[in-house]
Amino acid sequence: MSTVAVPAVPLEVLAEAPAGKVSLLRRLLRNPIGVTCLGYLVLLALVAVFGRLMAPQDPDRADPGNFLASPSAEHLMGTDSTGRDVLSRLLAATQISVAAALLATVIAVVLGVVTGLIAGYFGGWFDSISSWIAGLLMAMPGFVVLLAARAVIGPTVWMAMVVFGVLMAPGFFRLVYAAVTAVRNELYVDAARVAGLSDARIIGRHIMSVVRAPIIIQAAMAAGIAVAIQAGLDFLGLGDLGVASWGAMLNDGFAKIYNQPILMLWPSLAIALTCIALTLLANALRDELERAGAAPKRKKKAGAARDDGDVIIQAADVIVHGADAHSQALTGEVLLDVHHLRVGYDQPDGSVTEVVHGIDLRVHRGSIHGLIGESGSGKTQTAFAIMGLLPAGGRVLEGASIMFAGQELAGGSEALYRGILGKRIAYIPQEPMSNLDPSFTVGSQLTEPMRLALGLKRAQAKQRALDLLDRVGIPDPARTFAAYPHEISGGMAQRVLIAGAVSLDPQLLIADEPTTALDVTVQAEVLELIRDLQTELNLGVLLVTHNFGVVADLCDQVSVMQRGLIVEAGPVRAIFHDAQHPYTQSLLDAILDDAAPRGPLGADREEVAP
């Protein structure tokens, strides 16, 4: 902690802060680490206030006849190089060290918060000047500045800590400034202004409530750094050696390191414990703040996929429509046969939250199977489970079977999937932009799997990538190949991802809402592309979507999914003409409103168009 750079409290913490309605102190008291640190610091504060009174002997009385004595009944911690009682000195030193750290912290907080509030709230010239000064102060290593200052002000503890307080102020300035500028234009602040509240009250009520907790966290860190820096100065002998402080005691002990090394133990312990307590306290505070901010969100998210209450959900009541002449003609051999798939997430308390409750699904070679349902119905989880790409904590539960071309994938290891993913099962994601690595060019991301899986040479892979880019309708393949993801449009990116998906000659394509994130004008083109590639390469496709319009355009078979279960399944015509389940009917009704544009593609179009 010899650096002065006070790590900034992340802004997410700021954003979460208003959620911390339950007293932060109370939550901290329930946190075992937090309460231990707080206890230590309270004890330290008591020693700092009453230390000199508690000292068994005069901390400054030297006894030249009894120097460097080992601990004894008379001197519990022994005596130092001039025969002063170490215990008494430690108690007295606590007062100085704590007061010095407090001084620096208070100056940093007051200066940083006040200037940050003014600069952030009112802006203008004060903003520019104070931001510039903050930047200047942060540019230099604090310890070097302190040394320079010490050359002029001489060996005084207090002036040095005033200077150090100023040096730490930019940390608070930035924190408050960021929070204020973020909040200043919020509606509720505008409302307060319209309601006639004075600036002082708005700052006090609405802005300080947001930054209070982060300031406390930062102050705990700053105090820890101040303790370390102050001790460091005194340890170097740059402080006032006449005053007992932890650093001065360490200096005395260091001089006698070969004779009586235990002399350094006590001040070292005091410094280390105090710094650790302050840092851990800051961490515990931050954890509690983050927990307070995250808890309601997580609950909501889990609730969407979780079954309501303890109702046992069974996969028995699926309405299955028989194959008709049209669908029979289309279906080839079974490529993917999912049986009784259950997906669960391990919870910290050891329980498992089930999000897919045992579904059956079949995809035939050369046909498109739609998996439709609203968000949270478990359809994406099903897709990830088939590919063995569930997020951390998620897994396929016992008793499930995922047969792919005669091979069991359920519970398969990464090694098993390595031969399958890309080469045999490929994936088209939903969000084109976030699914390309921003740091690598489109070309390198396309060729990397080809070179790994197909063993192509660099030039061969490049040629194949250019051909694929051309095939998926990218006007200038060479340019796109060399571009970074942020340089191409969303529609382009999705084409790139489709090219990547088919680049290793897969048999099964799993497309997860491939058009949802795209512009309306591009959606039809991308669907057409998928349909064309499917026929051309005789692919089986599992198309995950929430849009019956897409299903109508593309799919041969469809399974309707609701709350982790498939409620109705069958050939697409049968579902459209004869939907039995109320949920299917409601989804069908929705396409009348949700008029997604569909190009003149699917043969089924005339039958279902409104």
Partner: protein, 313 residues
């Protein structure tokens, strides 16, 4: 690119002028006090005045500054008030010692921090807990206490390293390495702690990105995804912290060099400070500011090399 570097360097020069001006004014404003501190509290006013005149401290402040600045432009930063050595000569010999120490420490810290951070983020479990707890401790405990513990354990009790006595790399590289082993560890711990924490967070963040899943869906092994794609995307935040640590270490070396008696900038800084050898203090401030400007530029260039979205403009 070149024009970007030129512009950054120009901005750096402006920063240097700003820092040295502020430093000069603060240091020399108390001209009379400086003279008194040098000759001692008991000296008569006459002695103080004579000393002030001898050092040029009796001239108007702006004139002193102008003299310093014109000298500085020509590479003349004055002479020590005590040893008579020129500031440039005194700084350059010591700068090498300190920079070698800090650079080596940064390199080691970066390597270890990346390994620990990646292990913690990808393996989770107990490794993660150990790294996280160790990071908090390593960050919280002041470097000089770690240095003290190292001296007590490895020099005094085990006798593996000598606590003091610097060996120049030109005399013996292995001797040099041995003489700076403990200082490097003492300096590195705090840096490893904060960078490992940063790497861990950045890797966890990068791992949760959609493109990681997509890469894996193309059959790219997850180890390769981590070391090629995740690490590169996590590199930016880690580099930023590394830069901050590098600059912070310039302060940290002061204590460590003093403890291990390394003839670096830190030693010089302490001596110049206690003696109020202001020309040296000015030189130190300037040298530090130059290092800060250069390090920040290097970090920003590295960021741009790692992340194509960073535009150098």
């Amino acid at each position: 690119m070149l024009s970007y570097i030129a512009r950054r360097l120009a901005a750096g020069v402006v920063l240097l002028v700003a820092i040295t001006t502020v430093a000069f004014l603060l240091l020399y404003a108390g001209g009379g006090n400086i003279a008194r501190r040098i000759v001692g509290q008991s000296a008569t006013e006459e002695v103080v005045a004579r000393k002030a005149a001898e050092l040029g401290l009796d001239k108007p402040l702006w004139e002193q500054y102008w003299n310093w600045l014109t000298g500085a432009v020509h590479g003349d930063f004055g002479r020590s008030w005590f040893s008579g050595e020129t500031v440039v000569a005194g700084l350059t010999s010591r700068l090498a010692v300190t920079l070698a120490l800090v650079c080596l420490t940064t390199l080691i810290a970066a390597l270890l921090a990346v390994v620990l951070g990646v292990l913690a983020a990808t393996r989770r479990g107990w490794i993660d807990k150990v790294v996280q707890f160790g990071s908090v401790l390593g960050f919280a405990i002041p470097g000089f206490l770690i240095a003290l513990a190292l001296v007590v354990v490895f020099s005094i009790n085990l006798g593996w390293f000598r606590a003091t006595g610097f060996i120049r790399p030109s005399d013996s590289v292995s001797g040099w390495l041995k003489s700076i082993t403990l200082p490097v560890i003492a300096l590195a711990v705090g840096s490893i702690a904060s960078v490992a924490q940063q790497v861990r967070g950045a890797v966890l963040d990068a791992l949760s990105r959609d493109y990681v899943r997509t890469l894996r869906s193309r059959g790219v092994p997850s180890r390769r995804v981590v070391y090629k794609h995740v690490l590169r995307n996590a590199g930016g935040p880690a580099l930023a912290v590394l830069g901050v640590n590098f600059i912070g270490m310039l302060g940290g070396t002061v204590i460590v060099e003093r403890m291990f008696l390394l003839p670096g900038l830190g030693q010089l800084a302490v001596n110049a400070t206690t003696q109020a050898d202001i020309p040296y203090v000015m030189g130190l401030v300037l040298a530090t500011a130059v290092i800060v400007v250069v390090v920040n530029l290097v970090i920003d260039l590295a960021q741009a090399a790692l992340n194509p979205r960073v535009r150098l403009s």
